[in-house]
């Protein structure tokens, strides 16, 4: 028990978004390998406009997560698992500069 209950109140915020009749996707870091910016359990919520709260990395992969979430809201799927690795392909591409790898799980709240 060497930790505080670190809870960023993202689920509370998700509820207020639902009450405001927004479509919400919950993104959760479910696995990490190597040096990853956010621990397992870190959460982010995204709505149909691309507004988001919380984080799943230090800003490295958020843009990709947001576009995947918007795509999820526009199709019939309920969930999706995304994996991000070290990016070498393009300096402007999405990837984790820290050299870590993360898996992010997306699920619609509906």
């Amino acid at each position: 028990m060497n930790q505080n209950a670190f809870d960023e109140k993202i689920l509370e915020e998700a509820w207020t978004w639902l009450e405001a009749k927004q479509s919400v996707v919950l993104a959760t870091v479910i696995e990490t390998w190597g040096s990853s910016p956010r621990p397992v359990g870190s959460r982010m919520i995204i709505n149909q406009n691309g507004d988001f709260s919380g984080s799943v990395s230090g800003g490295c992969v958020e843009s990709a997560v947001i576009s995947e979430c918007i795509e999820l809201l526009n199709n019939q799927q309920t969930h999706k698992k995304l994996e991000f690795k070290v990016s070498n392909e393009s300096a402007w591409g999405v990837g984790l500069a820290c050299g870590g790898e993360i898996a992010v799980y997306l699920e619609k709240i509906h």
Partner: protein, 226 residues
């Protein structure tokens, strides 16, 4: 996640219950697991691994399954003796760092709702307030009044309890006289050494928010030392 599950999660959090959310990532099914929420039949084959992860508070995938577990436990409680200016900033920082704060101060003019809009304030003498408040291993106590008749009874109480952090505001000189007073009450050197005094890490600042920052920085350090 179904809104009905999210609603139940928020209710449990509000009622300060400990629980876990289990998500089957293959089909996005969510289950709440707690003493009041037994595992459904479908998860029984994995009961042992789920229980271990819940007890150890390990968030992550349960090995060789498609189950992800996320554990919610209660935040560390910080009892603040003295509804002083530093305490106002401390409560502000504590909110972002997810410590729960409870203030004790017998002086009514310090404990107004307007000064502490979001913190539970007990307007009693520590001796009286702590009669109903045992401290646990997940609790911390910080004495900020530097008035012996308020701080000393609170520190005396904390020293007999299980709390993981005790701190007291004051200079080296006033801390030395505090230790002498507590020694006269029968506390040993080891007990007195467990008090962080002067409280806080060395930041160099003198302003109220700077002192609050130095105290909460020390508290965070101690949390991860445990």
């Amino acid at each position: 996640m179904q809104p009905i599950i999210l609603k139940e999660v928020l209710r449990l959090k509000k009622e300060k219950k400990e629980f876990s959310i289990i998500t089957d990532i293959n089909n996005a099914a969510n289950y709440i697991y707690s003493p009041q929420h037994p595992l459904p039949t479908i998860l029984e084959p994995y009961a042992a691994a789920i229980k271990t992860a819940a007890v150890k508070r390990t968030n992550g995938m349960i090995a060789e399954t498609s189950l992800f577990i996320d554990n919610y436990h209660l935040p560390i409680k910080v009892f603040i003796v003295g509804a002083v200016h530093i305490a106002q900033y401390f409560c502000d920082f504590a909110r972002h760092l997810n410590f729960e704060t409870i203030i004790i101060d017998p002086r009514g003019y310090f404990t107004s709702k307007q000064r502490f809009p979001e913190t539970k304030v007990i307007n009693k003498w520590p001796g009286e307030a702590f009669l109903e408040l045992p401290l646990h291993a997940n609790d911390a106590l910080i004495a900020l009044t530097h008035d012996p008749k308020i701080d000393d009874p609170a520190l005396s109480h904390a020293l007999t309890q299980q709390c993981f952090y005790i701190g007291a505001l004051g200079s080296k000189k006033s801390h030395a006289s505090r230790c002498q007073r507590l020694q006269a009450l029968g506390f040993t050197g080891a007990a007195l050494n467990s008090i962080h005094g002067p409280i806080g890490i060395k930041l160099g600042g003198r302003a109220a928010p700077e002192i609050a920052l130095s105290i909460i920085a020390q508290l965070v350090t101690e949390v991860y030392k445990r």
